[in-house]
């Protein structure tokens, strides 16, 4: 049962296509598991279609555009018809029986294990999927069962999406599919449940900062891997 969903503002921006791609990635991953939000998106897209249908139709003469379009189309048709088939990627299951969400297939072909994991503590690993130029850092975190992440605050917004396992913090328990949006003011200390390891997708608009006296030593390292530092 999914308890934490994206806000209606985030869903609206996603359906409208105005949400930044890194955030859209998290919404899309959530939607794969959440029927309720899928319904919401379906209606929000209907609204988009009505607004689209009412656009002030542009009156420019389009005959040139039309000619060149159909010329190109005919060239394409002659070239090859086989390119029309849709590419379907097989669903691959890794040996832990984790199914990679469709939205993440562009970064993870086979298994979470194939990623380049950086070990920050014996129980906590992080793998960067993509650093947007001047934008957000998209990463996976992987924490062992029962372990806790060092206490940290956010220096920007953070979206976390639980892919596997579960964790909890002062505000609640988060399970597979839950979408958690934290702002810069938030300071928390997540603990992973004892039954299984926890893998999360995280999008950070700015680096997180560890606040424990020892883990503070990790901050320069964390900052170095965030795109804002370069």
């Amino acid at each position: 049962m999914i308890n934490y969903h994206p806000s209606i503002e985030i869903l609206t921006d996603y359906a409208a296509g105005s949400l930044p791609l890194a955030h859209s990635l998290c919404v899309s991953t959530h939607l794969e598991r959440c029927q309720e939000c899928q319904q919401q998106i379906r209606k929000l897209e209907m609204l988009g279609a009505h607004l689209f249908d009412r656009t002030h139709t542009d009156s420019r003469q389009l005959s040139n555009l039309k000619d060149s379009f159909f010329e190109k189309l005919n060239a394409q048709v002659e070239q090859k018809n086989e390119s029309l088939s849709v590419e379907e990627e097989p669903v691959e299951i890794d040996w832990d029986n984790y199914v990679i969400p469709n939205s993440l297939r562009q970064f993870i072909k086979k298994s979470y294990d194939d990623l380049n994991w950086m070990r920050l503590s014996p129980s906590f690993k992080i793998a960067t999927l993509y650093n947007e130029e001047g934008g957000a850092q998209i990463a996976l975190t992987r924490v062992k069962a029962g372990a806790h992440m060092p206490t940290h605050t956010h220096t920007g917004d953070e979206i976390t999406l639980v892919l596997e396992g579960a964790f909890s913090d002062e505000s609640g328990v988060y399970r597979q599919g839950d979408f958690i949006n934290r702002d810069a003011s938030h300071k928390h200390k997540p603990i992973v449940t004892k039954d299984a390891e926890c893998i999360c997708l995280t999008v950070l608009d700015a680096p997180i900062e560890f606040t424990g006296w020892l883990t503070r030593l990790l901050n320069p390292l964390i900052r170095r891997y965030h795109p804002h530092s370069s």
């Binding site: 503002e9 296509g17 791609l21 389009l62």
Partner: protein, 191 residues
């Protein structure tokens, strides 16, 4: 009166889609081109006023996608307008990410693929028609300030935050206008 005239072209367009999917009917594509290209161009120009070349590129891309993906369109899961809107939205996102200052390698094709696809179900079909009607009728009655914000978000491609900055209004006001509008259109029911 007007409605009776509107229904027929809708059905014609559905028939055109089928003709494209089943026997690659170019005359059908010409009719869809005449109907949708001006809309797609207007949709792009709303986001980037004056960018005619971009609007042309995106409009052609949408028509290519209609041609290539006609067989994947399922009338029972989305109206044709909704389907074309999602194609236009995705093509615009794709164009902007490849051509803007902040290029991104995140491929939008992966991000919107699972939403529209739903299994055929007569119950859902009826539900979908009801939702369509509510949205269409509700939209007529919305106050101008709510319509304006929806247009900013959907047509101009602005986030809530950007809409607030542009209209010099607090973010909270924008949020509540959108929420009120969605509530009236029965799209949003508070959880």
């Amino acid at each position: 009166m007007e409605r009776a005239i509107e229904i027929e072209p809708d059905e014609q367009r559905l028939a055109d889609m089928l003709a494209i999917a089943e026997h690659r009917d170019q005359a059908a594509l010409v009719r869809l081109f005449d109907h949708y290209v001006p809309k797609v161009r207007a949709f792009c120009l709303a986001a980037q006023p004056g960018a005619n070349l971009m609007a042309d590129d995106i409009a052609q891309e949408v028509m290519i996608r209609i041609w290539n993906k006609a067989h994947t369109y399922k009338p029972e899961s989305a109206s044709l307008n909704t389907w074309v809107f999602t194609l236009a939205r995705n093509a615009r996102i794709d164009y902007l990410r490849k051509n803007s200052r902040h290029q991104s390698d995140i491929d939008p094709e992966y991000l919107w693929q699972n939403v529209v696809d739903e299994n055929a179900d007569p119950f859902k079909d009826a539900q979908q028609k009801r939702d369509q009607e509510r949205i269409q009728q509700g939209l007529e009655k919305l106050p101008a300030d709510q319509k304006q914000v929806l247009a900013k978000v959907y047509l101009e491609g602005k986030t809530h935050k950007e809409a607030a900055e542009e209209l010099s209004l607090p973010l909270g006001t924008i949020k509540s206008r959108v929420r009120l509008a969605l509530h009236k259109l029965t799209i949003y029911v508070k959880r």
